[in-house]
Amino acid sequence: MQPIESFEAPAPPKVNYINAQYGLKSWLLTKDHKRIALLYLVSITFFFFIGGLYALMIRLELLTPQGDFLQSTTYNKVFTQHGIIMIFFFLIPSIPATLGNFLIPMMIGAKDLAFPRINLLSWYIYMLGGVITIYALLAGGVDTGWTFYTPYSSTYSNSYVVATGLGIFINGFSSILTGLNFIVTIHTMRAPGMKWFRMPLFLWSHYATSLIMILGTPVIAITILLLAFERVAKVGIFNPALGGDPVLFQHLFWFYSHPAVYIMVLPSMGVISELIANFSRKNIFGYSFVAFSSIAIAVFGFLVWGHHLFVTPQSVYAGMIFSFLSFAVAIPSAIKVFNWTATLYKSSISYDTPMLYALGFIGLFTVGGMTGLFLASLAVDVHLSDTYFVVAHFHYIMVGGALMGYLGGLHYWWPKISGRMYPEGWGRFSALVIFVGFNLTFLPQFVAGYLGMPRRYHAYPPEFQVFNVLSTAGASILGFGMLIPAIYFVWSMRYGRHAEANPWHLPGLEWRTPSPPPTENFYETPIVTWDAYEFAPREEVEVVGKFRE
């Protein structure tokens, strides 16, 4: 095995995927997965900015108990649109469509995804869905909550429900095509020697995510279609006055939308596995357990939707089964956390920005997962459902989990993507600011929730103000922390130090080609003879405990 300083790729060539062609057309008609990843990166950043503005408005309104900053109708639209934009147009595509798109072919030693044209098509579908949704927001907005519960959404709301639904419906196909592309690519395009159990865990988690995308997304498409039928054609599906059942909608909605949480967090777990292993120069402890826990989460994730319905007229026995399964699905996530922690034992840990995000992820995701146990527990959920406890819990999973993974991954692979280094000092500083701001925003909401503050309230009783003031203060810090990377990433594209092929000195395939890579990724097809995260010769692999893998 070569020593670590010799994990070096050839010197940077003059021509790479960024400067291979020029002009808008070369970007809009590209079939290169790396360029499509950049198209996605720009688009989701735009949507993240809009969603962030809505978050700012929510926090400003809630600073005081009276509804004085926004009208209640405006506030209802603002929190609805915050949810819709952040979930469907930022979090769901975030890691898969940018980092996944860029890295899956590079990590398996392929030239591109299996279907490059479909990959481009999926970006156009995403943009079409996005444009329609933006139109709906500008035309007057939507006020149903991102959950679109019937019969409010199908009959009573006077807002742009169908137009927004159409945007989400169309956007879903982009997700399905991306998932399909990833699965076929991972099955058929692996370089010689890249066996399944040699794959970086990033690929396992994207494989699991893709399964959810192609199996779950059609269900939300059907649900939105049925909702539109009822709203437009007055066909009785969900409205009891027309002979429908409003709770049926919730079953259909959560059959997709609970697994969708795993679409957001599984890719992030993949990133964290990469960061933990590579920034501690250690192979992942219990590789196969971490790999299979992703698959287990994808499968069991489809069986727990009913825990969103504990206070509806759902049968008490169904509630018990869903509660049991919800506790069961927590176990694979716990296994991941334990294995990541164990990986750090006797390792060599660097404090570079990506690692700070990874450590932050473990902390925040642990809080998110632990508070999930409160909500899986039937009697406590009866008290907590639809309170701020739920709001805090899912932000710990989606922001503390998915977003931290995304930012960590973006810093980690930024040298490969852009060919430039981001400023390390600012990177560490902003990671710290984001961590502090995030906790200050959402920790007080757990307490407010248990005290009974309901979510989606535009005005609230004065005894909850102290928690909301803390939240708003935290959100200001969080927002400030988010602006710093946005500024220095743009800055680094022009002024950043040129990145070497392998700035972190790592064995992964993506680091064995120049930064930025050539259009065809590798000058010659790599032949893989090593396991993932193999920093040292195999003879030295030590087995802890009696059993051998």
Binding site: Y287, G319, A379, S385, E542
Partner: protein
């Protein structure tokens, strides 16, 4: 505003301490494990920091023993949480037999409540302490949710059906009532109070609010004006339609085979969609009343049918203050329903 920050809301029902106990158990266990993971993580991060730029630590493949340990132990602990939560939930879910019934109709953006003794309230609910209260709830429009944090319980109120919610208050006072399911423009204004009173005060309150007809009496009037009597008999003794006397709580054989227990949901369905579950021996001749009567009227009709449990008995004619503290079963028209 309080000068200190509370961690749990006021405890004012028999569920409060049960839910709080489980909540403290969950908090204790999760805090312990979070701190354990956090401490180990921070220890490793400091202890195994990179000391020289090119050092390579010895690889460790993993350990089936450790994997087994940290799969089984969390699973066992999770199962204790599951079992405890399910146990308390089961109590919350199953309404007791001898509860005082209150009808609740939600609408955008208010709560309309009516006591079996006739008193109507809006956004307020007065109840006696230490008595089991059962709410029979529906809504005129969208889904709402009746949430009293001090009682640690809530339930969605879903259009087109009845949802029950029960509790027993343990401490007099005034408590928040929230709508916890987003219901449109003025969702955050759909709030109110539950006022828990000592039995004597509650009796005073009841007697200070006389003059309302009870739901059962209002239902009797509707029964006549809507023409129900022409088929079901002047006093529910039956005719072309099934007998209604004493029907509530019984099991009816159905024309299509099978049987159904007569509860509020079945009566509601039979009024709004009469053909759905025909009683054996009767034809599909009843017209639907869907859209012709309001949720309030439906509640009143059902209250009337429930009051027809003994031959010849008619409901009390005006709201007489039901003695709350020493009421005996059978003293009000809504007793003996199950």
């Amino acid at each position: 505003m309080q000068s200190w920050i509370p961690l749990v809301p006021e405890s004012a029902s028999t569920f409060s301490w049960k839910v709080d106990a489980l909540y403290f158990y969950l908090s204790g266990v999760t805090l312990f494990f979070s701190l354990l993971i956090g401490t180990v993580l921070i220890f490793f991060v400091i202890r195994y920091r990179r000391r020289t730029p090119y050092e390579i630590p010895r690889p460790i493949a993993g350990s089936h023993k450790l994997e087994t340990i940290w799969t089984v132990i969390p699973f066992v602990i999770a199962m204790t949480m599951f079992a405890w939560g399910a146990r308390v939930y089961f109590d919350q879910y199953k309404p007791p037999d001898n509860a005082i019934e209150v009808y609740v109709v939600g609408k955008q953006w208010m709560w309309k409540l009516q006591h079996a003794t006739g008193q109507r309230e809006i956004n307020e609910l007065h109840i006696p302490v230490n008595r089991k209260i059962k709410l029979i709830m529906t809504t005129e429009d969208v889904i709402h949710d009746f949430f009293v944090p001090a009682f640690r319980t809530k339930a969605d109120v879903v259009p087109g059906r009845y949802q029950t919610l029960w509790f027993e208050a343990t401490k007099p006072g005034r408590y928040h009532l929230f709508c916890a399911e987003y219901c449109g423009m003025n969702h955050s204004g759909m709030t109110g109070s539950v006022i828990v009173m000592e039995p004597r005060e509650f009796d005073d309150w009841l007697s200070g609010n006389t003059g309302n007809v009870t739901p059962a009496v209002a239902g009797q009037q509707l029964y006549q004006t809507l023409g129900c009597a022409s088929c079901h008999g002047a006093n529910g003794e039956g005719g072309r339609g099934p007998t209604l006397e004493g029907i509530f709580g019984n099991v009816q054989q159905l024309e299509s085979g099978g049987s159904v227990r007569v509860d509020e949901a079945y009566l509601r369905e039979s009024i709004t969609n009469p053909q759905a579950k025909l009683v054996a021996g009767f034809g599909p001749i009843m017209p639907t009343f869907q859209g012709q009567i309001s949720e309030d009227q439906l509640v009143q009709l059902i209250a009337y049918i429930k009051s027809l449990h003994a031959t010849g008995q008619t409901p009390t004619t005006a709201a007489s203050p039901a003695p709350a503290a020493n009421a005996t079963p059978g003293s009000s028209p809504t007793r003996n329903i199950r």
